[in-house]
């Protein structure tokens, strides 16, 4: 088992070290996410009913588009120095590279969300601590990076990769975004509590399906 997980954790550790050195992903996604929330806070009158209606959407626009930026950067680094081809020369299955990249992106995105949510809560007058948000955010984030990693590997070889990733990725991620928004709505008061019981299993199922399918797709995508 160590033989399989060793390279996965090596990819994660390498991504962490790169990020520690450049701070490219964290700074750009964090600033973008916060800007989205600030813009909406200024644009709408954040009354309790308005927040209950549009708040979840604002939050997940911030998380999703920030995540897309992070995914773009994550594979941009691999492309620029030829690092991805270096990874591909390692005697491991392509799925190990995939899971390493997914885990790294997941950790970055979860960290950014953990910083953005309190800012969102303060600006829109919501409780700072929302334990119910944790499983929703984790499942939806996992879904976003599971699918986004494949599309990021695909778009990185295109001329306009920054534009191509959202175009390819968002249509596939729409069910996740809807589920995350509905579940978040149930948690912050705009939806029924029963909605949570409906959308959380949906997110879990989406994760399970795409974590099974995407490693196979990834191996075809990265080989020219």
């Amino acid at each position: 088992m160590r033989g399989y997980f060793g390279p996965i954790f090596a990819v994660v550790a390498k991504d962490m070290l790169l990020e520690l050195r450049t701070k490219d992903i964290l700074v750009s996604t964090l600033v973008f996410g916060l800007l989205v929330i600030i813009v909406f806070d200024i644009a709408i009158d954040p009354t309790p009913s308005a927040v209950a209606t549009v708040g979840p959407g604002i939050l997940w626009v911030s998380f999703t588009f920030g995540g897309v930026m992070g995914l773009n950067r994550s594979f941009g680094v691999e492309k620029d120095g030829g690092g991805l081809r270096g990874l591909m020369l390692a005697p491991v299955g392509r799925d190990a590279i995939y899971f390493g990249k997914v885990l790294g992106s997941f950790m970055f995105m979860a960290l950014v969300e953990a910083i953005i949510y309190p800012a969102f809560a303060v600006m829109f007058d919501l409780p700072l601590l929302a334990p119910g948000m944790v499983p929703v955010a984790l499942l939806a984030t996992l879904a976003i990076v599971a699918v986004g990693t494949v599309f990021s590997a695909m778009s990185v070889n295109t001329r306009s990769r920054e534009v191509m990733l959202p175009i390819l990725f968002l249509p596939v991620a729409v069910p996740v975004i809807i589920a995350a928004v509905e579940a978040t709505g149930a948690l912050i008061g705009s939806g029924e509590a029963s909605e949570l019981a409906r959308w959380v299993p949906f997110l879990a199922a989406y994760d399970a399906i795409f974590l099974a399918v995407c490693p196979v797709a990834f191996s075809f995508v990265i080989e020219e």
Binding site: A13, L18, V77, R85, M88, L89, P91, V92
Partner: protein, 241 residues
Amino acid sequence: MPEADTAVYAVRLKGVTKAFGRAPALRGVDLDLPWGKTLSLLGPNGSGKTTIIKIIATLTRADSGDVHIAGARVGRDGARARRMIGVVTHDPLLYEDLTARENLRFFCRMFSLDDIEDRIERVAETMGTTARLDQRIGAMSHGMKKRFGIARALLHEPPILLLDEPDSGLDQEALGLLDEVIGGGDNPRRAVIMTTHNLERAIALGDVMAIIAGGRVAHRQTLDAADADAAREAYERLASR
């Protein structure tokens, strides 16, 4: 590949084709490399040399045909095949924002190697780069990056080396070190495939030469001293195609 062939051949390609879109890059390449030999692969730009290296290195899938590396069939047993090869390409395949040591340490982990620090010191010494180990790759010259790219390929002591124009951008000292790596002391369990545009280096370092033209092996011969002139004549005839 039958077991008897595995003992004789380090690399075998049979009927390998590859197209990029509608443009064919390889049109049925048959190539084999016995253990203990160095194959010099020559040919004009766009002839398919790099594509052959990429296919053997499992970076690109062949459209059809068979590729075996030390008995492992590429495509079916890619991970095993990759453990047997060290690959040097035009790019060093290193991360610009990490130091050379951090890069080499990372690739040691990807190969699940032990004695990581000793290995790093060893390959750095082989390539004359010990003093630069803690420098960021992005701050290095092209030649120094290339040296570390070669060091990366040697970390797991692969029996088969695939070198795609390894001499480009290297200074005289580095060329000498590279020649030692390629020579490998005539190791009978070492095999090297090297693409180059430098015919004289190809003759000096290779045991066998193949000229790729139009996606096919257009000429193939051994490189004994007596055959050098025939090699030059074939190269002049085919390289201008």
